[in-house]
Assembly symmetry: C2
Homo-oligomer: 147 residues x 2
DNA sequence: GCATAACCGGATATTGACATCCGATTGAGG
DNA sequence: CCTCAATCGGATGTCAATATCCGGTTATGC
């Protein structure tokens, strides 16, 4: 339902949000987020192209959020790596009819719209600010307690 | 986001709902729904196993809804062919911690829950009953007007 | 009981998502 | 300007989703 790539991108972004304005190398991010390092590198490149993240090469380089966590919504990260494709025309491969969807596809598209809304509703900052008492599992920077 | 298989299963089920208690052959269903016939056959077999649809072999056989359209929810068809996998434990591959999700995965799972809710909200009967005036595109049995 | 209609199940492409590898490029620091 | 650290980009490998094919099985009707 949600692609691995989205999951990886969100983990990376969430981690970077815990150290805003600082950069981390692919290897560092991979270790904390448990994402295969080579693939994570590709995912981060996508985030760079979409200007979610900024990269710097060379010594002391790495990846850094392009904006403060308050200004980064989960939806933006999803759309950057694996966009939610809304249904805008009848998928039956029919040419000559307008933009109106049949009741079935209207409902499917509504469900997709719900997803978008849900993802647009949170920023990375909100995710990190959440109290999340009682064993903050999978939570950064408490990653050490997570294994 | 939604798999082809789900799309195909829903088209087939929606079509069968327009002729409840009657059976249609794979070829008939494939023609109306514009789904590749060989693959549709596999999808229908899945629906048979999940008791969404009943099959009969031999002359006059085919596929038929197992229940009246009022009793068939979109969600059931989705779950039959490509189940929505809710996030029940931290996906970071960590063994020794409970069932509690971190804020990030809590939100992702909430989005999945929204999808489930959206799909559970409609029955096939409701989809067919919708007024859908003004060129009922992609709509059965007006399939002829659809091409 | 034979011919025909239709689904069933297994074997086999094909395609895109996921993943790896490595040489090229860029930047920092002495 | 040389070395080292790090990303970048292209080539390649793997696997599950999609899709096809066909022989086997079951049911109908004569």
């Amino acid at each position: 339902m949600l692609s691995q790539t989205v999951e990886y991108a969100l983990r990376a972004a969430t981690y970077l949000a815990t150290v805003p304005k600082q950069s981390r190398t692919v290897d560092q991010i991979a270790e904390v987020t448990h994402v295969p390092v080579a693939y994570l590198s590709k995912v981060l490149q996508q985030l760079v192209r979409e200007e979610i993240v900024i990269s710097r090469r060379g010594t002391g380089g790495g990846f850094m959020l392009a904006r403060p966590p308050e200004k980064l919504r989960v939806l933006e990260i999803v759309q950057a790596v694996d966009p939610i494709e809304r249904i805008t025309t009848c998928p039956l491969g029919l040419a000559a009819h307008g933009k109106r969807l049949c009741p079935l596809h209207r409902r499917l598209d509504n469900a997709l719209a719900e997803m978008e809304r849900a993802f647009a509703a949170s920023t990375l900052a909100e995710i990190l600010a959440e109290p999340t008492k009682s064993v903050p599992l999978c939570n950064f920077p408490a990653a050490a307690t997570c294994r």
